[in-house]
């Protein structure tokens, strides 16, 4: 019986951890949105900054991936 409650907690925790991905979605959207608005103001400078945009996306996305990792750990490791 006790094991069942622990497992229930792990599953609920995994679901809650997935809400962190929403934060990463906001972050990535913010980065790309600002890149586009900047690129439309100065299209000639946009091509040289795509690498910077991808680095920004990667950093924002990493934190969402961490929440995915926490969910996976709760599902399979705990």
């Amino acid at each position: 019986m006790e094991g069942d409650i622990v497992q229930m907690g792990a599953y609920i925790g995994a679901g809650l951890a997935c809400t962190g991905m929403g934060g990463a979605a906001v972050g990535v959207g913010h980065v790309v949105g600002n890149f586009i608005s900047g690129a439309l103001r100065n299209p000639s400078a946009a091509a040289s900054q795509t690498a910077t945009m991808f680095i920004g996306i990667a950093f924002a996305e990493a934190l969402g991936i961490f929440s995915f990792l926490v969910a996976l750990l709760l599902m399979f490791a705990v």
């Binding site: 690498a51 991808f54 680095i55 990667a58 990493a62 961490f66």
Partner: protein, 255 residues
Amino acid sequence: MAEEAGTGLVFHPMEPFKIHPLFGDGPIHWYTPTNVTLWMFIGILAITLLLVVGTRGRAVVPSRVQSVAELAYGFVHKMVEDVAGKDGLKYFPYIFTLFLFIVFSNFLGLIPMAFTPTSHIAVTGLMAIAVFLGVTILGFVKHGAGFLGLFWITSAPLALRPLLALIEVISYFVRPVSHSIRLAGNMMAGHAVMEVFAAFAPLILVSAVGIAVTPLSVLAITAMYALETLVAFVQAYVFTILTCVYLKDALHPGH
């Protein structure tokens, strides 16, 4: 994890990531040939075919395969030069190897029934730790104790510097974790989403709701597949460019 829903649908989202021996069912040792070994070998074979056999002609006007190889070479070469600078080009062969291995693993993994080596943290973790250790050792060899200046931000007010140094040290040691999990997580999550949609597809056989759900899930698999094709390239690009950024930090820790 395999759970059977009440409707008779079977969900196996983690099934494609199982490692099993190629021959027989014995226990897996470090020397056992598994499906990971097979798909890594296929990837390396494809890279060898592209770069060695494809460019064998050394034509001035390149053939189609040769121009693909030249395109990949030029793409990564420019990336290293732009991000890490001219003196980073010494480490270009390693970065090009990483890029080709990741991009070929990702794309070969998109073939149905194929295995994606990069969806395992063991594989990406090894690559990320190799980059982390290599870059750290390189930084200390090139700059000695001056490499620690990376954590001591001289442009910040003096009172803030210890706090910033703490944050910088933490973010430095989180690098290999985020570097590896980003690639593995993206590949694994995308494939698992396709598996979940694929489990909904046969609903039409067991329930009337399937008339609406089945076409939707087939459409969703198609859309996810297109997105995964993009993600397969973008993640290889991101892994490579972050390697270049870390290399730049080791070569020029001042800024």
